[in-house]
């Protein structure tokens, strides 16, 4: 979706604020928000694409004025409600008002190393051969889906070159919408700065994105 998360090429955000000796977390609530997000993610109640979509679908004004872990917190709140695990009334009151819903698994402290080591590999095997090969020229589709997508706006309708072929990976656009993994071939596509940003662009820059096959057509 064309939400506020899709920031590539926007102007006006000012200089980058670099903090020396930055701590991993800036407040205790950030620690808890981080841990809660991971622990709930590991329950299997939703997938990573759903959690990204929950965050990016915050209204743009709210997304851009929320700190990183505020966005995570708001994302988890949406997800637990959508999954039927917590009601809006419970979030508002700060109290559990109903019996818990069934849940696939609860991560215990002793499970944490194994859960983190396993991660969430996205590669899958599919039967179709890859449509594009390294060195091939492709054009990204001009598309503006309502749901989740990993094709940034600045890279739509642009011509680039296939740089890497990664195998088939879970297709986030479908997976975020509960339509299953529907894996597709994944490619790294390299664009010249001029293709993306026009004649005034620095001629020595290139930008690559990782793009699923259905984002691409032959050029």
């Amino acid at each position: 979706m064309n939400g506020a998360q899709d920031l590539g090429g926007m102007m006006g955000f000012g200089p980058i604020s670099i903090e020396h000796d930055e701590p991993w977390f800036h407040a205790e609530w950030e620690r808890r928000a981080f841990g809660l997000t991971l622990a709930m993610g590991a329950t299997g109640s939703w997938n990573i694409d759903m959690s990204r979509h929950a965050r990016e679908s915050l209204p743009p004004g709210e997304y851009l004025t929320s700190s990183y872990y505020e966005i995570w917190t708001k994302g988890v709140e949406k997800l637990v409600v959508a999954a039927g695990l917590v009601s809006r009334e419970e979030l508002t009151s700060g109290q559990s008002l109903a019996e818990p819903a069934p849940i696939k698994r609860v991560v215990k402290a002793e499970d944490v190393p194994a859960v983190l080591a396993r991660g969430g590999p996205a590669e899958r095997s599919i039967e179709q051969p890859a449509r594009f090969a390294v060195g091939g020229r492709v054009r990204t589709r001009n598309m503006h889906p309502q749901g989740h997508t990993r094709l940034p706006r600045y890279a739509r309708g642009k011509t680039g070159v296939v740089e890497l072929v990664h195998g088939a990976h879970v297709f986030p656009d479908a997976n975020a919408d509960g339509q299953g993994e529907q894996p597709q071939w994944l490619y790294t596509i390299c664009f010249s700065g001029r293709e993306l940003w026009g004649e005034q662009a620095d001629p020595t820059i290139t930008v690559s994105i990782d793009a699923w096959e259905s984002y691409l057509e032959p050029a």
Partner: protein, 208 residues
Amino acid sequence: MGHDHHYDHDDHSHLSEIELRVRALESILVEKGYVDPAAIDALVETYEVKVGPRNGAKVVAKAWSDPAYRDWLRTDATAAIASLGFIGRQGEHMVAVENTPDEHNMVVCTLCSCYPWPVLGLPPVWYKSAPYRSRAVLDPRGVLAEFGVHLPETTRIRVWDSTAEVRYLVIPMRPEGTEGMGEEQLAELVTRDSMIGTGLARQPEAMR
């Protein structure tokens, strides 16, 4: 933002809205038995204590020292990095890109905060911020200058926007004058920012 929380506890009155909100969420999730508070502690502790850019620095130092490892890292970074024990969440599919005198690599996630946790730990705030995410793809040379990195105008800049589960690790150039150094010493020269591409490796003089 329309949040209509009702808290009766006086001892919470000094807490900000987001602190109250996270506390409420945790207490509901714990009360319902969905999360174990000790697991949250373990998750946080992992990234505060055990996982950080020292992991990536070991990878880079090994690549600088061992040509066979470097080749493996360039062709199958996931396996080469896993061989050092750095595996798992947000590092499932790794690609290593190598800086040269002619070409400088830098990494961004314009859509969120994709970052190779097993080798770099959790990302700094600037990496997740709108100024970096918006401008890294449009004006990478200007962004590098803000980090104090001024490259020759002829050096090509390659920006990798991490839009899938593939995570990128930049192998910075090995500083001159480090020929006699072992992997442990070399790793001291490898900074977090040099592995994102917003910095360069430290010069050995800086270590003395």
